[in-house]
């Protein structure tokens, strides 16, 4: 197996490392690579910070085959490198789709399990890992075993959301959900401020919900944005065309305060005052940013951070304004800020979701970003909230035990599965996840 020297960057581009990468194209090559140089597996590198960075890593994207599919029950078995979009494109015409999907179709099955991702239907469908029936895990010795919640409850729960620390996920069996149509009917409404937003989420009965926040709005407009509630329409599924790409890094002013402010104002006003219904193909609704490949280059060479936390219901109304205020006054906000309700569904010991509100904000990587991120992390901890490790680039290691109450169990299980610590990534080392 030849290795490739490359600079690895998380999706945000703010953190990077010089790495040696293997990319096995067949099963036997993966096994040989692991036995020769045990190291973490990475997927499509859609985690923002350093969850997917390591000095040696195995790129899993070429091990992307479907293994079997039952058209009656929707039970799919697939290799870890298949992407969410591939699953949607292949099975939607047969009436099935992943039960829950992150906001990008480029994420791989392995990555979605290792971060136990959530979607716009988390309040109903739970997290990705909860739909995994079993998976095949390969240890640093190249030996593999099939595990499920029944057969190995602890190891299974340490693997779902386990950041790849228990071993390389080779393949998984998962239950797909029914996909009744190829398009979504999306109801869009303006939300005047944060109060209106939180009320709307608490009252909403929609299957899919997501809120876009204007993080540049201050004062009485603070927390304004657009609420999207969606259900399936009746049309057939149509395969998306190939996306256009941002060819190179944008100049620094692309994400400057006036540009973002103007963009956000237009984006807000685009929805009429009394709301509207629009129809969108599935991929446009679920993966709105995938239409432009490498959109992260719009942030220029220095990149950006994403901060995402979840706050418990009773703390959110008090803490969110402090967070919005901190971001708005920093001038580092970007157009991409999302507010959502999460349910209680979680599949693993280190899963992110908990009942409450989740806020995700992209923050331009200028010198003031560090202080802002520290403030946001502190606010989240203080409120009994949790920061999402798939996005993180700035958390204090000391906050981890409070935010992740099952950390001790996780550490114990991982120690057994990988005593040589072969699978530790940059994030795991930075936050002392393994203890």
């Amino acid at each position: 197996m030849r290795w490739k020297n490359d600079e690895l960057r998380g999706w945000g581009g703010a953190l990077k490392t010089q790495a040696t990468l293997a990319r096995p194209e067949r099963h036997s090559a993966l096994k040989a690579t692991l036995q020769d140089t045990p190291c973490p597996a990475i997927g499509a590198r859609r985690s923002y910070g350093d969850a997917n960075l390591a000095t040696h890593a195995i790129d899993m994207t070429r091990l992307d085959r479907f293994i079997s599919f039952d058209k009656e029950t929707g039970l799919l078995e697939a290799e870890a490198g298949v992407t969410i979009a591939d699953m949607l494109n292949t099975f939607a015409p047969m009436g099935f789709m992943p039960a829950t999907m992150p906001g990008t179709g480029f994420a791989t099955l392995g990555g979605c399990i290792a971060n136990d991702v959530h979607g716009k239907n988390h309040h109903l469908a739970g997290s990705f890992g909860q739909h995994v029936e079993s998976l095949v895990l390969m240890g640093a010795d190249g030996k593999s075993q099939r595990i499920s919640l029944k057969s190995k409850p602890k190891l299974f729960r340490a693997t779902i959301g386990g950041l790849g620390q228990t071993g390389v996920i080779i393949s998984a069996r998962l239950h797909l959900a029914k996909c009744p149509a190829g398009r979504m009917v999306v109801h869009e409404r303006r939300m005047e401020d944060l109060d209106a937003f939180l009320d709307a989420f608490n009252a909403s009965r929609a299957d899919f919900q997501v809120g876009w926040l204007d993080m540049t709005a201050k004062g009485i407009h603070m927390g304004r944005g657009i609420m999207e509630e969606a259900h399936f329409s009746h049309d057939r599924y149509i395969r998306p065309k190939k996306a256009r790409a941002v060819p190179f890094n944008a100049p620094g002013f692309a994400m400057s305060r006036p540009v973002v402010k103007a963009f956000n104002w237009l984006y807000y006003k685009r929805v009429p005052e009394d709301g509207r219904d629009v129809e969108r193909p599935l991929h446009k609704f679920f993966f709105p940013l995938d239409g432009i490949r490498h959109w992260n280059r719009l942030y220029g060479k220095r990149g950006f951070h994403q901060f995402q936390c979840v706050l418990p219901d009773d703390e959110a109304p008090a803490t969110l304004p402090l967070m919005l205020e901190a971001v708005a006054s920093s001038g580092l906000a970007s157009p991409l800020s999302v507010l959502k309700r999460l349910g209680h569904g979680r599949g693993g010991m280190m899963s992110f979701p908990m009942e409450g509100f989740t806020l995700a904000v992209d923050i331009v990587n200028r010198s003031a970003a560090k202080g802002l991120l520290a403030r946001l992390n502190e606010l989240a901890r203080h409120a009994g909230g949790r920061v999402y490790l798939a996005k993180d680039s700035s958390l204090e290691a000391a906050y981890l035990p409070d935010m992740y109450p099952e950390l001790a169990d996780f550490r114990a299980e991982v120690e057994k599965a990988d005593p040589s610590r072969a699978f530790a990534t940059d994030l795991v080392n930075r936050l002392n996840v393994r203890g």
Binding site: R2, N5, R23, A29, R62, R65, F66, I67
Partner: protein
């Protein structure tokens, strides 16, 4: 089945290659039958299963080693019983480092067998079946490396050049019988063959190369450079006079 058109069967040699896998998938999505050939049978079976899930009418795997032409007849016999429209695509090839070849010239035979004579012997056995049916397409994957011998990989290049000349003759023979032959010359493609090699540029994805092959089938192209701009790059490289070229290391 009455009324429905005769299905296409694609026989894919070297089906474990990343380009071949992408090509096979696209065939599967069009509902074709597949016969996947190569040395790594467990892996071929995985690819066949994937193609079946993606919509292939039928997907089978069989062992084929380009260096063991004695095995070929059994596969041909099996194909004789098929009533599908037969098509073949050859992706077999190997590119040991030139330095390894310089150290052990015995490797030359293997390179020539993998990239030229093995596939040529298979196609020679297959050709009468297509000729008899009067339809079908054969795709042979050569390389831009076959257009001119370069210090870095001229043994591989020589084998690909031999294969290209063979394909040109085969096209000449089969064209008059309704069978179309396409020679494909890819530039750099992002596969295990090029992974981690320094100095790669304008690297294309296997999916894009595979899509260009399907387009070439529909348009009945004869010689295809892919991505297209390699036609112009190679035109320039071929035009460099030999007395200059011999001093270059490109």
């Amino acid at each position: 089945m009455q009324g429905s058109p005769t299905p296409n069967k694609w026989i894919i040699l070297g089906a474990t290659s990343a380009i071949a896998r992408a090509f096979a998938r696209q065939c599967a999505e069009q509902g074709a039958s597949l016969l996947l050939l190569g040395r790594d049978l467990p892996e071929l079976k995985r690819i066949a299963a994937d193609c079946a899930v993606r919509g292939a009418l039928d997907a089978q795997a069989m062992a084929l080693d380009a260096r063991k032409p004695g095995q070929f007849q059994a596969i041909i016999e099996r194909l004789k019983t098929s009533s599908d429209i037969l098509n073949a695509a050859v992706f077999v090839g190997s590119m040991p480092e030139q330095a390894a070849i310089d150290a052990d010239p015995g490797l030359i035979d293997g390179v020539v067998q993998d990239s030229f004579t093995g596939p040529a012997r298979f196609l020679h056995l297959l050709a009468p079946l297509l000729e008899e049916r009067g339809k079908g397409t054969i795709i042979g994957v050569g390389s831009v490396a076959g257009d001119r011998g370069r210090v870095g990989n001229y043994v591989y290049g020589a084998a690909k050049a031999g294969f290209a000349t063979y394909l040109s003759g085969l096209r000449n023979r089969l064209g008059r019988k309704g069978v179309h032959v396409i020679t494909v010359k890819p530039g750099f493609v992002d596969t295990s063959m090029t992974w981690g090699i320094e100095g790669m540029f304008l690297v294309a994805s296997p999916e894009d190369i595979a899509a260009s092959l399907h387009k070439a089938v529909v348009k009945k192209r004869n010689v295809v450079y892919t991505p297209f701009f390699w036609r112009y790059i190679m035109l320039i490289i071929r035009l460099i006079p030999e007395f200059i070229f011999k001093k270059l290391s490109i």
